[in-house]
Subunit: 232 residues, 2 copies
DNA sequence: CGCTCTATTGATAAACCTCAAATACAGTGG
DNA sequence: CCACTGTATTTGAGGTTTATCAATAGAGCG
């Protein structure tokens, strides 16, 4: 049921390893440090010194950002094969977000000196790293546009579609978003409140677009959501 | 009155040239192509193939992003010494934004092959480029948090403070934001409407925090704006 | 079965947008 | 210098969206 990610998958699919051979990946992994995280534990905190970057090998992380008043948004979810904290590590700065594991999660961490040495030895790593950061930039710019210009229900639709593409798993009745996802989570990811999410999902359930339970969403009619998100 | 930026300033202040000697900068500039832009002209369009990156040497650019319904946000302003479109160029993708000049503006453009060759010759360029992209990511993530969690007037305060830090020029009566800046611009930069901006500025003017005219803002009490932006 | 956490729903209020109309301003040409 | 024109801005009224609060229902777990 949980999405896992074997080491051999890693070689094939991890964004950090594009263009590298399996033996090279093994060596690179050998220079990192494995961490096992219990569900709901924190890998790093917003504001801490960002010395490491991490590759998720099993499970998922949730990246959240808090403002001074204590309100939270979800910047991104990070799944197996994806890298996080590359920016903070490269910049020698503070982590701009907090990373929390959703279920049991395994990550490999490298500190900056190690990463720099690896980049010298395997220049593809540097390229992949830049590529990763650029994708993050593109994603958040799109979402910035959305949150500035679109209504709440359209943003919720987009959030669900994004999460579906990222963690969707085919079921007999539709596509399950295969992580525990509360109304509050969806709200934090869409820039709204859990009440509005709840009302919106109820309405969509009546129309047969989604089916939802406790921390669980199944998307029945993705096409309807797409055209709803893009309506004028 | 207009902020200009001589070639020698370039060597000292441009983010692309950190760590490089003046002679090296000259050579690098020699490999680029100068463009002169009339006010309000477009350097590149959202959706075009992103083959070049640009360093602004005089004037300013406004980067805007449009959604399918035609609503616009301002992603960023780019001033003399700053680089833009690095991400699109590196990624071989499409420009995610449109760049429009505010006044007469001069930029130097490099295409990807040239930039790659320069990075090989001067690795500092690669480092500076990454640094630039990371700064953009950090900035937009902060603003994403703000637009999700804060009220309109707080966001307007933050926008003005950001623009003040970026283009502020000391005057006898306060700090002028030294670009033509309409209520609509502020709205597009804050994720609201020109009407709300107008009302908010009127209120602040009564309190003596700002003084505003046609496309012109002078910030009289920055401290008041800061504490207003950060109130709970 | 009781406890806790999540979700639903209604009522209400606040924030903000939209539309319309009036006013102010800068530049232009007489 | 002044009238004219095209924007930019202001302001009011009204409406919509969305947040907030409160109370209830449901799900999972020991």
């Amino acid at each position: 049921m949980h999405r896992t990610f074997s080491i051999t998958d890693c070689f094939e699919r991890a964004e950090l390893f594009n263009g590298l051979a399996a033996t090279q990946c093994e060596k690179i992994i050998g220079h990192g440090i494995k961490h096992q995280l219990q569900p709901q534990s924190i890998l790093f905190h917003q504001g801490q010194k960002g010395t490491h970057c991490y590759l998720v090998t099993h499970g998922q992380l949730k990246l959240t950002k808090l403002n001074k008043q204590g309100k939270e948004v979800i910047i991104r979810y990070v799944g197996a094969g994806e890298l996080t904290a590359a920016a903070a590590m490269l910049k020698n700065g503070l982590y701009p977000v907090t990373a929390t594991s959703i279920h049991e999660t395994e990550v490999i961490g490298w500190d900056k000196p190690t990463m720099i040495a690896l980049m010298r030895q395997y220049p593809d790593i540097a390229i992949n790293l830049i590529d990763t950061v650029l994708s993050r930039l593109d994603d958040i710019q799109r979402r910035y546009l959305e949150v500035c210009t679109e209504q709440v229900d359209q943003r919720i639709a987009r959030s669900l579609l994004r999460l579906m593409r990222w963690a969707g798993s085919r079921q007999q009745d539709g596509i399950l978003i295969d992580i525990p996802l509360s109304r509050q989570n969806i709200a934090d990811y869409s820039g709204t409140t859990l009440y509005t999410v709840s009302r919106t999902l109820s309405a969509w359930e009546k129309r047969g677009w989604v089916k939802s339970g406790r921390e669980k969403i199944v998307i029945i009619d993705p096409h309807a959501l797409v055209s709803f998100a893009e309506q004028p």
